[in-house]
């Protein structure tokens, strides 16, 4: 191979980080050149996050050095443990979990910290002009003037990406950037990334969507168990070969027997949820989910799937229309009643809604059923019984944790989600609401979630799958409906459905013109 003529921007050599007995990073070398798009692959726990945290100064490496090019192109060592130094050196990152001040607008979030405290007021004009230019260049259109809390997850991520671009980064790390974008938007982002790379930006692209990695990146680095197991050009690699490198063993093809639908379990007739002026609302929705089938809801977040999820989960009630959920006329918000009716709910945000971080795995496991006879006697908690059953669930669901008494917040996202799955699926629910069930999970955990949702379906449960990941929807759903601006389309059979059609419908085109 001839040497690459582009200058090095970033060079990690021999990075090692140990947490007690665990070696999270084991002598990792990584070079990134200007204008290069490098994919960083690895399962959760493979060491990606640790490596990025070291790069970012959140952790100090036990061994090894990070070199970064200055404006003159000269490499110099980056002082460890200083986020300021990393930022000043031009490293920017868009995290999977956003770091936005929810009560400030997108514009304020982006400008925050870039202007001197002594400046009176924001120098809006120049900042605004620069942002408008970035938005035009990158195609990351979003409303900059409403509080971030009112934006959807997808829009918040766009703000995050703009925030990094605004800071003139030389190395941009994107952690799962396309997880919440429509295929068209993802294509737009890919184009943006290519444009930026062509101007000399080095991009480290962390994603679990292997086809994106293959399409976008020129080189792929795979971590497994803290060590680098591959550093190769994407040319010649395949999804199967990359997945195998990440997991360390061949991945069996997903098997999905055909659905055998029974009686309707979830019936919506002309249901509206949320005030008409609310962004994430549902208007006159009709939907039927039958026992033994998975119905997927596609849509960019903030278009009404949140309202649908809230209705099914019991956090909201229909403003108009009729909702029959697992035989229950859902006329009021009543989470406990929905649970009792046999609805298993997997919330979108497992940190905020799904688990209580300070409580233990066992306590989170019985969070919904603490008052049930198997968990208490005369108001006293049956701790030993709960711990024993939690230990069994930990084994059954392969939750990697120190034990039932470990605090849930110490678990990785995938293992946290397994605790939620164990809690929800253990009770053999008649209806499963799975809202973004694999967001932020790695291949192993995602495969596991998918397998369990299909198993629940085959057991006879109706499954409502809300996702922004079209690959996931097409892989799991028997039928797919699209939600846009509060309107829910009819559910279409997945067989024979074109992913582009769904993508266009997500952007607001009617089914006929999209097809």
């Amino acid at each position: 191979m001839h040497p690459d003529p582009r200058p090095l921007v970033l060079s990690l050599s021999g990075i090692t980080k140990r947490f007690g007995p665990l070696t999270a990073n084991d002598h990792i070398d990584l070079d990134v050149r200007a204008g290069e798009i490098v994919a960083l692959l690895g399962e959760n726990g493979a060491g990606k996050t640790t490596l990025m945290s070291i790069l970012f100064g959140h952790y100090v490496a036990d061994e090894g050095v990070v070199h970064i090019a200055g404006p003159d192109g000269q490499l110099s060592a980056l002082p460890g443990g200083s986020a300021e130094a990393a930022l000043a050196a031009g490293i920017g990152m868009v995290h999977q979990h956003f770091a936005l001040a929810e009560n400030l607008t997108g514009f304020e979030n982006i400008v925050l910290g870039t202007q001197s405290l002594w400046t009176l007021g924001l120098r809006r004009g120049a900042a605004r002009a620069k942002l408008e230019r970035l938005i035009t260049e990158s195609g990351l259109a979003t409303d900059l003037d409403v509080p971030v809390a009112r934006l959807s997850v997808g829009e918040q991520q766009r703000i995050e990406i703009l925030k990094a671009l605004y800071r003139d980064v030389r190395v941009l790390i994107l952690d799962e950037p396309t997880a919440v974008l429509t295929p068209q938007e993802a294509d737009g982002l890919a184009a943006t990334v290519r444009t930026l790379a062509a101007k000399g930006l080095a991009v480290i692209f962390i994603s679990h969507k292997l086809h994106e990695v293959l399409a976008l990146c020129e080189r792929v680095v795979v971590l497994r168990g803290g060590a680098k197991v591959a550093d190769q050009p994407t040319l010649g690699a395949s999804r199967a070969s990359l997945a195998e490198l990440m997991v360390g063993r061949p991945i069996p093809a997903r098997e999905r027997p055909p659905a055998n639908p029974g009686a309707p379990v979830l019936v919506l007739r002309g249901v509206s949820v949320g005030a008409p002026d609310q962004r994430d609302r549902l208007q006159g929705a009709d939907l039927e989910v039958r026992a033994g089938e998975i119905v997927g809801i596609a849509g960019v977040s903030g278009n009404g799937q949140g309202a649908l999820a809230q209705l099914v989960a019991g956090l909201a009630s229909p403003r108009a229309g009729e909702a029959l959920i697992a035989g229950l006329r859902a006329s009021r918000a009543d989470p406990a009643g929905r649970i009792a009716a046999g609805i298993g709910r997997i919330p979108e945000d497992r940190h905020r809604d799904g688990t209580i971080g300070a409580l233990t795995v066992a306590e989170n496991y019985v969070l919904e059923t603490i008052a049930a006879p198997e968990n208490q006697r005369a108001g006293l908690i049956r701790r030993d019984d709960i711990r024993r059953r939690a230990a069994r669930a930990i084994a059954d669901y392969d939750v990697r944790c120190p034990g039932p008494d470990a605090a849930v917040r110490a678990l990785s996202g995938g293992n946290m989600q397994k605790v939620v799955l164990a809690r929800v699926l253990e009770r053999a629910p008649r209806l499963v609401l799975a809202h973004q069930p694999t967001r932020g999970l790695d291949i192993g955990a995602t495969t596991d979630v998918h397998r369990r949702l299909i198993a629940a379906r085959d057991r006879g449960a109706a499954v409502l799958l809300i996702s922004e990941d079209l690959d996931e929807l097409f892989a799991l759903s028997d039928r797919i409906a699209v939600v846009h601006a509060g309107h829910l389309s009819a559910a279409m059979d997945t067989a024979g459905l074109d992913i582009r059609t769904v993508g266009l419908m997500m952007a607001g085109h009617a089914a006929e013109e999209a097809a």
């Binding site: 649970i339 688990t355 300070a358 605090a407």
Partner: protein
């Protein structure tokens, strides 16, 4: 350079060590103003220790002072566990004291085994009812309970003064604004003859044990912890968030009310408007030092009480103002807040790498 690395879990010994360390650090820091005032530093501390723990009499005095602090400490601990910021224990204490006098000073004539429980229950209910108002304001209208409970303290104290100047004034008290004394049948007996230590301490310690069991072992305790740690997830999981909050209000207000009953029926015998030198506020310090653990409240209250009693005794001996006690307690609170960093982070010293 110092680096803070978040801990995944905090060992129990560390939590205890931080609290103990904070107490010691507070005493050490107090040495500075002591030295500046020209007092013999070591001698002052020896006098303080002797005054607080030196003999049976001193110890009994410390425990007497600790009794209301255990109650108000528990009131703060249970409320703060659920993120209900009850700053109104002082008012709830007075509400309990008022109920004690209302029920125990002659309204009802009954033997002690009826009247004492009645007075205690009445005081607890009065404190609970007082806190229920801000809790309902919070759950129904989103009113900030810090402001409401804090302001209600002043309302209650003015109400007490009004009652003591008016309907409840003891005609036999030579014009002093104080209530009629509680009946002998409503009085908490002394634990040891000749000392001021009374059964309130026993009730306080039992309350701490019961609260510990309640929080860690019962369904409702579980719900309270869940709501306190993440109310959103608790609501999502179908837990009765509003009821759990109301229950916390009842418990917290009730415990503060018991502090008032214990002071009136166990120690003073009648109600005056200066019954509490800020026990309600000191309870917040006690609970914080105890890391909101009901069992930890007991030693924490004894420490704070010891500081106050010891400082009184020292100031009498060498003429240093007993405001020093407030200083120690304030420094202990600040130290434990700083120490809280240790429980949440591992602190690592790293050498700045050569560039």
């Amino acid at each position: 350079m110092i680096r803070f690395i978040p801990r995944e879990r905090t060992p129990v010994w560390l939590t205890v060590a931080v609290s103990v360390g904070a107490g010691l650090a507070a005493l050490l820091l107090t040495a500075i103003p002591l030295a500046l005032s020209g007092a013999p530093v070591l001698g002052a501390f020896v006098l303080m220790a002797k005054g607080a723990l030196g003999d049976g009499f001193a110890l009994a005095e410390t425990l007497t002072r600790a009794t209301p602090l255990i109650f108000t400490g528990l009131a703060a601990a249970v409320a703060f566990r659920a993120k209900l910021w009850n700053i109104g224990a002082e008012g709830q204490l007075y509400a309990g004291a008022l109920a004690t006098v209302a029920l125990g000073a002659g309204l009802i004539e009954a033997p002690a085994y009826v009247l004492v429980p009645l007075v205690l229950i009445g005081a607890a209910l009065a404190g609970a009812a007082l806190l229920l108002v801000p809790v309902l304001f919070k759950t129904r209208f989103g009113a900030d309970e810090v402001v409401v409970t804090l302001l209600m303290n002043f309302i209650v104290l003015l109400f007490v003064q009004m009652m003591l100047e008016g309907p409840m004034k003891d005609e036999m008290a030579m014009g002093w604004p104080q209530s009629a004394p509680v009946l002998d049948e409503a009085t908490l007996p002394k634990l040891i003859t000749g000392l001021r230590l009374h059964w309130g301490l026993v009730i306080a310690v039992i309350s701490a044990l019961l609260l510990h069991v309640f929080i860690t072992r019962t369904v409702w305790g579980f719900r309270i912890r869940a709501v306190g740690e993440n109310a959103r997830a608790a609501r999502y999981a179908g837990l009765p968030v509003g009821k759990a909050m109301a229950l916390v209000g009842l418990l917290s207000g009730g415990l503060a009310g018991l502090a008032g009953a214990s002071e009136v029926a166990g120690l003073k015998g009648y109600l005056t408007a200066d019954l509490s030198p800020g026990f309600g506020y000191a309870g917040i310090v006690v609970a914080t030092l105890a890391n909101l653990s009901p069992l930890g409240v007991i030693p924490s209250a004894i420490f704070v009480a010891g500081v106050f009693v010891g400082a009184d005794s020292m100031s009498r001996a060498i003429g240093v103002s007993n405001y020093l006690a407030d200083l120690v307690v304030a420094l202990a609170l600040l130290s434990v807040l700083v120490g809280g960093l240790l429980t949440r982070f591992r602190i690592v010293l790293v050498r700045r790498e050569a560039v």
